[in-house]
């Protein structure tokens, strides 16, 4: 058997889970693209912070995070949590339309958002501004897609929304995203948690 990657185990980092969430979310939104050869390190993290600054997300927070001594673990965690909260609460349709249309396809994305494909194209091309309700749904889907991209290619991401799951009482994720869904509803929250369980799966 040939092995093509090795890893050096460094000092424990208690903020590991938060960094993974941030990077996964940034990929789902379309700020960065991670692949098997991407080096997860300070350069990538600084690049993500720079992109968040440019997008106007948690600007003061990202500056504070850059200034925190990485050895101050509790302080790093506190600011990192605040950056993540800001990112979760900041729809970025100017990035998300392109990413989600590529991953899900415009027909599937329009179905999940409960809008017509013609409206989708108008919003995606900036001919009309994205209504708040649609922007919130788009952002919610982007965060889910960020988690799914750690397990599936684009076809797999689409199929994931249609596979019945025990954790959803035998329903498929798409069934819990009915025409009036909001990110705060129980069904969509369960779908989000299911996707996130992939990122933090402890199983082998």
């Amino acid at each position: 058997m040939e092995y093509d990657r090795t890893m050096v185990i460094t000092q424990p980092r208690s903020e590991q889970r938060l960094w993974w969430e941030l990077l996964s979310s940034a990929e789902g939104i379309g700020l960065i693209s991670l692949d098997d050869s991407t080096e997860i390190g300070p350069e990538l993290i600084h690049e993500v912070l720079r992109l968040l600054d440019e997008a106007g997300v948690g600007r003061r927070l990202t500056v504070r995070l850059r200034e925190v001594d990485p050895m101050q673990v509790e302080r790093t965690e506190e600011v990192l949590r605040a950056v993540l909260d800001a990112l979760r609460g900041s729809p970025l349709p100017q990035f998300e339309w392109a990413t989600l249309t590529r991953v899900l396809g415009s027909d599937e994305l329009a179905t999940l958002l409960h809008i017509s494909e013609s409206s989708l194209h108008r919003y995606a091309k900036g001919r009309r501004s994205t209504p708040d309700v649609t922007a919130e749904r788009l952002h919610f889907l982007a965060l889910i897609v960020g988690d799914l991209l750690g397990a599936y290619n684009e076809v797999g991401v689409r199929r994931w929304f249609h596979r019945p799951r025990t954790a959803l009482q035998g329903k498929a994720p798409i069934e819990l995203l009915g025409d009036r869904w909001t990110p705060e509803d129980q069904g969509p929250k369960a779908v989000s948690e299911l996707a996130r369980s992939l990122l933090f799966s402890s199983a082998t």
């Binding site: 058997m1 092995y3 990657r5 890893m7 185990i9 460094t10 000092q11 424990p12 980092r13 208690s14 903020e15 590991q16 889970r17 938060l18 993974w20 990077l23 996964s24 990929e27 991670l34 692949d35 098997d36 991407t38 997860i40 991209l149 750690g150 397990a151 599936y152 290619n153 076809v155 797999g156 991401v157 199929r159 596979r163 019945p164 799951r165 025990t166 369980s197 992939l198 990122l199 933090f200 799966s201 402890s202 199983a203 082998t204």
Partner: protein
């Protein structure tokens, strides 16, 4: 001894943090706990069960990393004592 771990290809497989969601052998924030399979097939089986993948069409869409981890062979410090229904039960157990 070489053991195996199915993981998100974007990130290192190993947990370094206490802040780890609960799993089969540890509770929430009770980490870091590392889960490894003794065969590559076992690691794949864990993933497929987690994702409830039963169709070949789903299998070909999977994008994951399979890590081979060299581990020192040592006797475990303790043996878990679990009831048979826990060892062989469904997701609820």
């Amino acid at each position: 001894m070489i053991l195996f771990r199915h993981a998100d290809p974007r990130f290192p497989f190993i947990w370094e943090s206490e802040d780890q969601p609960g799993g089969r052998w540890h509770g929430d924030a009770d980490g870091p706990a590392q889960y490894l399979a003794d065969t590559p097939v076992g690691a794949w089986a864990e993933f497929l069960r987690h994702e409830e993948i039963r169709e070949p069409e789903d299998l070909v869409t999977v994008r994951r990393a399979l890590w081979a981890v060299e581990v020192d062979e040592v006797e475990p410090a303790a043996q878990p004592q679990l009831r048979r229904e826990v060892l062989s039960g469904g997701l609820e157990s």
